[in-house]
Symmetry: C4
Subunit: 326 residues, 4 copies
């Protein structure tokens, strides 16, 4: 029997669904104590049910690893690989490593271990050298492996070192402050590093829970318009302002209503790192507990510095109380 | 005699041609058993008539090769190159390789072979060393070649390792499911790896055969609008929906009509890989046999995992029967 | 005395100038025998008056050099550098290179030369080794220089190998052919290599000389609209068509009028190379002598190949006479 | 007590603020002797109050360093590292470095120093070789460190060498010249290097001080429209023109009014470097003192060069007096 797709003219439900804003988290995350975006920009989501080896992206892991751990892994790997090859040389027979002296009475294992190290790094002093087919074969293989590992290390080093990691610092709090003749939701940012970010674009979204007529809760997302969402240059600090007009999703919001709705302010920044000429993305979020009412940021210009224009990075969190416009 | 281009005001045939959608396959592929896009995203097209050496892009080949084959080629190449150089040293005369011992009674060929390996990898133990003009020249050349090959291997390693290969997993089937108060064509995707894809854009196109009044068949392409074709983030699974309204090319389609038209659903995804900050493209296609009628996907949230939001990757293909809206 | 900028309301001359299309060549290139874009995509322009060393971009030069010349330079450089260091060792005194044997009666220069080669490549067999402060210092420096040069070679190798050089082949001729119920200016392209180009955008511009009322000639540029200027995929050949309607700059053009105007068809292609996920740009131009009147391209599908869809690359230039629509 | 955000319908002050152009410098930089953008494109801004180590981006620093300083640092680092390791070997005991000869009466320190150099560069001649556990361990570690440093140097070399540094040369002066039937603000640019920049986009902004009714000064930014702000190709010089019509912010400006307002013309160029297929950004600024009144640029075409079209780079600053249109 032939199946047929029934169809209807465009429904109002569809129009409504198409206009619903969604960042990609969907409507079903309704647990109230779970942040969507962590302070370091990662998502609060785990993908399970797939084997670890299948899901891990080794390059990604080795690139984002801290430098201390990265070097730890390299040294450990070097140590273990030498132990493996030392055992191989002992298995073949220490007598095939010509030139081992007994002068310092070092055990055969360490002699084989250091010979291995000299081969892996391609130093090859030659006081000890392999003789016979098998010792020579293993040494030849080890030198090749050494070179490939150097190639790998070179790539990783370059990948880590040359990756753009923008260090945009966000003010500790997001504040509701008087703004012109109305009020605004404000936070501010500064680039901590001495290279330049240019062409910044900023987007802010309010994530909060809505109660359906049925009593069920769904998560909704509202864009928060910014007074200015793009700058060409970013040498100074930048205060971002969402003007709270009557059209704002925050109009008439109260401290309690935001807490009830588990409000989270999601911030996305796109910029270009001028050293690498690479686009970078930065995510951040403020939870409703980090919102201050009636506070305004203090200027960050440092007038004590002569000549140049100077901004004091450490002042980014400083604010003072301010009564809101009514 | 001067030739002159006759011209006419814009014809209706031209307007029609300009509005015809074409992905780049043209209208002439009318064989019914041929998929346009394979399951791995490659095209089902061969370019012939050009010499192999001229058409092959070696970098491309060595980059997309599996890791096992890649290492196989490296080891084989190392082995063969040492054989070539060993023969060269034998040709010059084994007596020009000073220090060859007869202790272990190894044939001259292997001594030359291992000396070559020590030179190519720049280990250079020095138990055996070249003397005389020719042996020294060949050894000097071999060391240089060794270094250039290491440079090449380093580049390839880095190129392979640092290339973004997004692993978006598609549901095994595309389904016709009830959607709001109408029906929709749905499939879903998830990213299998632990790094993030952001700013996804998805496009879906229906490719099918049309019969001309003359009886000839031509292939046509229809865009299928999606309820939502962009997300900023992709930490969870994403179900893509083409709402089957009266305007849809699928309105009133039946199982038989799709089979007759050799329907293929072509999917293109653009995203940004956050580790590499590189744009990636993913292609996929569903043939009409992979379409299920009256089925809806089951949720993938895993509520057994405490704390974080968790999605079970292996559940992506799970569906249950569902009666369509009429 | 203060100067003041006089100003006027917007003039019609300004509006006209703002609407004039210009690719960046300006209006003053009026010599008739000079192509603007060469067949290999380079511009027919020289920048003089600047010192060679200041204007040359070494990376660019070493990257676009042919492979044979590239290797030639590397080998020559290696040879010369060893000669320099050999002279340095001879200057210090050959007796500071311990282990030079007189067995094979090789002159001191070559011993120093090969010792230098062993140091530069970091092979360091050690049969010959430096003693004393100066020989050791020079050897230490040479090894460091060797490593830095290897680093440079590695970078260049990778840069050359991993650079996307799209090989789009253009049909030898551009033709005026019957097209639907009118005529069209057509050329066709195919990608010769086995990796994929995607998201192609094509632009065509007519460059020709116009005579001003004063009798002076200026070069003008007219965009030529294409029936289709974008494809998502490019696995097959693609015929680009500029429909010659009454609005076309080519309407009523004759062979003589194009020759008189020194007509050149400039073509720009933007695409994404899928292996590198890098945008590539290709330029090409057809001069009026390469235009064929009343010819249409023959299909390139190869039906003798079973199974896959097959295109014969070498057929790209094939055409047959066709009478134009009137 | 629940706080509530008061809100108002959109205010006229907000609209005005939203329409104010801002490049990212803000309105508060009112010191008259401070340029915003230096001649080399850097910003005249310092970020203070953060620790040096925290704010410095080492990759960025090492990449923008001059070549002479870069090599100086490498050689110094090599020298110091060898001194450190030489001391370590002396501490362990010079007798553990086998093969040190007293023939040339070199002090033990230098023998250890050169042995260290041979290990760090992985040359490893082997005349001197480590014996015993500790000497061997230090040597094994040194060889590994040597390899990692080579990896780092390789990455930096490639990063420096392959970075696109466009060398767009700006005319020394910006001029007010007659243009068509009105006047224009003009400057011109040329690319000094032999590789190509394509798809250039140029933006010009006037930065000047405005006096508020209160007498306070604020810095304002006005976009200056260009007659043409994009070219596809850039093989020749390009003269950029802001037509001074009645709508221009410069209408009726005088030499004195520009000086009083501390006028600075900020220029931003975006282009694609064809060798690297990378987007590049160039910044430049002209201060009011660099503005010439009634001068027009002389042509740069060099007609003495036969065959090709030739442009004389060194003529970029040449101008002649010209009386303005009134």
């Amino acid at each position: 029997m032939a199946k047929k797709i029934p169809s209807r003219s465009k429904s109002s439900m569809l129009t409504q669904e198409e206009n619903r804003k969604d960042l990609g988290f969907g409507t079903k995350i309704t647990s109230e104590r779970v942040r969507l975006i962590n302070k370091d920009g990662t998502f609060n989501v785990r993908r399970v049910g797939d084997s670890f080896l299948n899901s891990v992206n080794w390059y990604h892991r080795l690139i984002i690893l801290g430098w201390r751990k990265f070097f730890g892994i390299i040294f450990l790997f070097y140590f273990l690989l030498n132990i493996v090859f030392a055992c191989l040389y002992l298995f073949i027979g220490i007598e095939y490593l010509e030139g081992i002296s007994n002068e310092h009475q070092q055990p055969a294992f360490w002699e084989a271990f250091f010979f291995s190290a000299q081969t892996l790094t391609t130093v090859g002093y030659g006081r000890i050298s392999p003789t016979g087919f098998w010792a020579n074969s293993v040494a030849g293989l080890e030198a090749l492996i050494g070179l490939l590992l150097i190639a790998l290390a070179t790539g990783l080093f370059y990948g880590r070192f040359s990756r753009s990691v923008p260090r945009i610092r966000f003010s500790k709090n997001i504040v509701v402050a008087p703004y012109l003749d109305i009020n605004g939701l404000m936070f501010r940012i500064i680039h901590e590093r001495d290279n330049e970010l240019i062409d910044l674009d900023v987007e802010m979204t309010l994530s909060c829970l809505d109660t359906l007529p049925s009593g069920a809760k769904i998560r909704k997302y509202y864009p928060l318009d910014l007074e200015r969402d793009h700058v060409n240059f970013f040498p100074l600090n930048w205060t971002l302002v969402h003007p709270i007009t009557e059209d704002s999703p925050l109009a008439n919001a109260t401290e309690k209503s935001l807490a009830d709705a588990d409000a989270e302010f999601l911030i996305m920044i796109r910029a270009i790192d001028e050293t690498f000429m690479q686009q970078v993305h930065v995510r951040f979020s403020y939870h409703y507990e980090e919102l201050l009412w009636g506070a305004k940021f203090e200027p960050m210009f440092d007038t004590s510095v002569q000549g140049d224009i100077a901004v004091r990075v450490s002042d980014i969190d400083r604010y003072q109380p301010a009564s809101l416009n009514t």
